[in-house]
């Protein structure tokens, strides 16, 4: 961390493109991205791509590659440009904390893919179960009921 790092890629955005699929690989995404990319930088990673450039251009490329496998491709913003030494595993000695968050979500994301596929074929007119809300505390035992239990136990 000795060197002072000048702000890189000012005015650009970087987006992660993750793919969790048995039929689409990061390599497939890269090829498709290059088909339409003009002014963006594309970096292939183990989980997908990082795309850096002007926001409208990055969005255009992402819209193109999402078409390959819409329910298995996921996108998010990244604060750092790719390969930034402040965030690079090689420099830190270990993964940056956010990486573990990715690792966790990539294990869950297959169920989200199922969800995306399912709702695309749903009839919007139907009322279907939503995600359960956060569990409330169990209700206290009713006093009358408690009395009945006690009475039942008395010989």
């Amino acid at each position: 961390m000795k060197q002072k790092i000048p702000p890189l890629y000012q005015g650009t955005v970087t987006k992660y493109v993750f793919v969790e699929s048995y039929k689409t690989t990061p390599d497939d995404l890269t090829s498709r991205a290059y088909e339409v990319s003009e002014k963006v930088m594309i970096k292939e990673t183990c989980f997908g791509l990082q795309i850096t450039g002007e926001e409208s251009e990055v969005e255009r490329v992402i819209a193109h590659i999402r078409k390959i496998d819409p329910s298995h491709i996921f996108v998010k913003d990244r604060g750092f440009p790719p390969g930034d030494p402040r965030r690079c595993r090689a420099n830190l000695g270990g993964a940056r904390p956010g990486y573990f968050g990715h690792e966790f979500e990539m294990k869950v994301v297959k169920w989200v893919s199922k969800g995306i596929e399912a709702i695309n074929s749903e009839d919007p007119a139907l009322t279907l179960p939503l995600s359960s809300s956060v569990p409330e505390e169990p209700p206290l035992l009713d006093l009358q009921k408690l009395k009945q239990i006690i009475d039942a136990e008395v010989p």
Binding site: M1, K2, R89, L92, G93, G94, A95, P97, F100, E103, F104
Partner: protein, 413 residues
């Protein structure tokens, strides 16, 4: 002595967000060390966290716990460990303490824990980082138990400057002066020590320096060893107290900051350094002596004749502590009782703020100038419920340690 890069594993929560991570990097670089974050998989994090058994909620603390387990198990290698979390966070304080203890008990890695605020600077962290690297790099030197040849140690502290000349494992000359101008005070104490020992500068086989002015003095006089006071004082303490083997605890209440060091075979395992306010330091006792109109050397016997429990005094902050002092005198309390209360208050601050961060193992050795204030030693002994050892020449602890350790360079010279 190897100057290889020392790899310090960082276990932390919050420094990036407090703007102090750069300060940690800077302090480590200044002492030729590199801070790194132990690499784990999410599965390792889950397993290690579960196995450790401390069910905290913060993700970064879970990560710190998992990394500590990996260090102890040896799946990640490091030379030392730095544990850091935000000051005033209760959850992190529990983790910080338990990890420090766990690493200390289950590995030979030197470990230091620190709670930072956004005001923490690399300068504050420097001595701690330096001590970690000294322990990692100089284990062979720190294992030295006897002084050989003719060597001198100079300790430039915030309040006083001390010099000691040793020959063949005996102290033959000493010098002591209040610190004014760093180099000037050092010249004075060296002259005193030379005179008492009856030797000259050119007769010396090696020199060591320690304390705040160690770099300046060390470079001016061409010292063989320039080393922070945590390791040097530990060594000096176990040498003078004649307990070089096994565990011990060294307490040094200094003029500006306090050191509490958990030592094993003369090498620090865990340590804390600092203090919230000068109210927990020798400075408060100096003020007390001045206000009572006695010399600091008279404060100890005065306190021994008094009963501290009769006077309410809390020197958590030196300003409020001084107010208590003034009020106590105005209420007609005796000088003896006020002196005893001041000693008790300083001991209590050190006990509450610092001694909780290390493992107290007997013998407990008190060193430094304040160890000569018997009232303070008694108060500390009462709090720790143990008999405190104050070795001879305890006020020269840093100089003795530096003279002893620098004799490792005698044959080389």
């Amino acid at each position: 002595m190897s100057e290889d890069l020392v790899r310090i594993a960082q276990l932390s929560c919050g420094p990036e967000y407090s703007g102090v991570q750069k300060e940690i990097y800077t302090a480590a670089e200044a002492v030729g060390a590199e801070v790194f974050f132990p690499d784990l998989s999410l599965a390792d994090i889950r397993r290690n966290f579960r196995d450790f058994g401390l069910d905290v909620r913060s993700g970064d603390l879970k990560l710190a716990i998992a990394r500590a387990v990996a260090l102890v198990e040896g799946s990640v290698e490091a030379d030392a460990v730095f544990i850091a979390s935000c000051f005033r966070c209760a959850e992190a304080a529990i983790v910080r303490n338990e990890l420090r203890r766990y690493i200390h008990e289950h590995s030979s890695l030197p470990v230091v824990s620190y709670s930072f605020t956004e005001r923490t600077t690399s300068g504050t962290l420097l001595t701690r980082m330096e001590a970690l690297t000294t322990i990692a790099r100089r284990r062979a030197l720190l294992a030295r138990e006897r002084q050989v040849g003719l060597t001198m140690g100079v300790d430039s502290g915030s309040s006083t400057t001390k010099a000691v000349i040793m020959q063949d494992n005996e102290i033959i000359g000493t010098g002591w002066r209040p610190t004014t101008e760093v180099m000037g005070s050092a010249d004075e104490v060296m002259a005193l020590a030379f005179e008492e020992a009856g030797v000259k500068r050119e007769d010396l086989d090696a020199i060591g320096t320690t304390g705040y002015g160690r770099f300046l003095i060390g470079e001016r006089i061409g010292a063989d060893l320039i080393q922070e006071e945590l390791t040097v004082n530990s060594k000096g303490a176990v040498f003078l107290a004649d307990c070089q083997h096994g565990p011990s605890t060294v307490i040094d209440i200094g003029g500006m900051d306090n050191k509490a060091i958990s030592v094993n075979n003369g090498i620090p395992g865990t340590f804390t350094m600092g203090g919230i306010c000068a109210g927990a330091s020798g400075r408060f006792l100096e003020m007390t002596a001045k206000r009572l109109g006695v010399d600091i050397t008279e404060l100890g016997p005065l306190a021994m004749a008094g009963m501290g429990g009769d006077v309410p005094m809390n020197s958590y902050c030196i300003v409020f502590g001084t107010q208590s002092l003034v009020n106590a005198l105005a209420e007609g309390h005796s000088k003896e009782n006020v002196a005893a209360a001041a000693c008790h208050s300083v001991a209590e601050q050190v006990f509450e703020q610092q001694l909780q961060e290390i493992d107290i193992k007997e013998p407990v050795i008190m060193v430094g100038g304040t160890s000569l204030i018997q009232g303070l030693v008694r108060a500390m002994g009462e709090l720790l419920q143990t008999e405190i050892v104050v070795p001879h020449h305890s006020q020269y602890i840093g100089s003795v340690g530096a003279a002893l350790l620098s004799s490792g360079f005698v044959e080389k010279n």
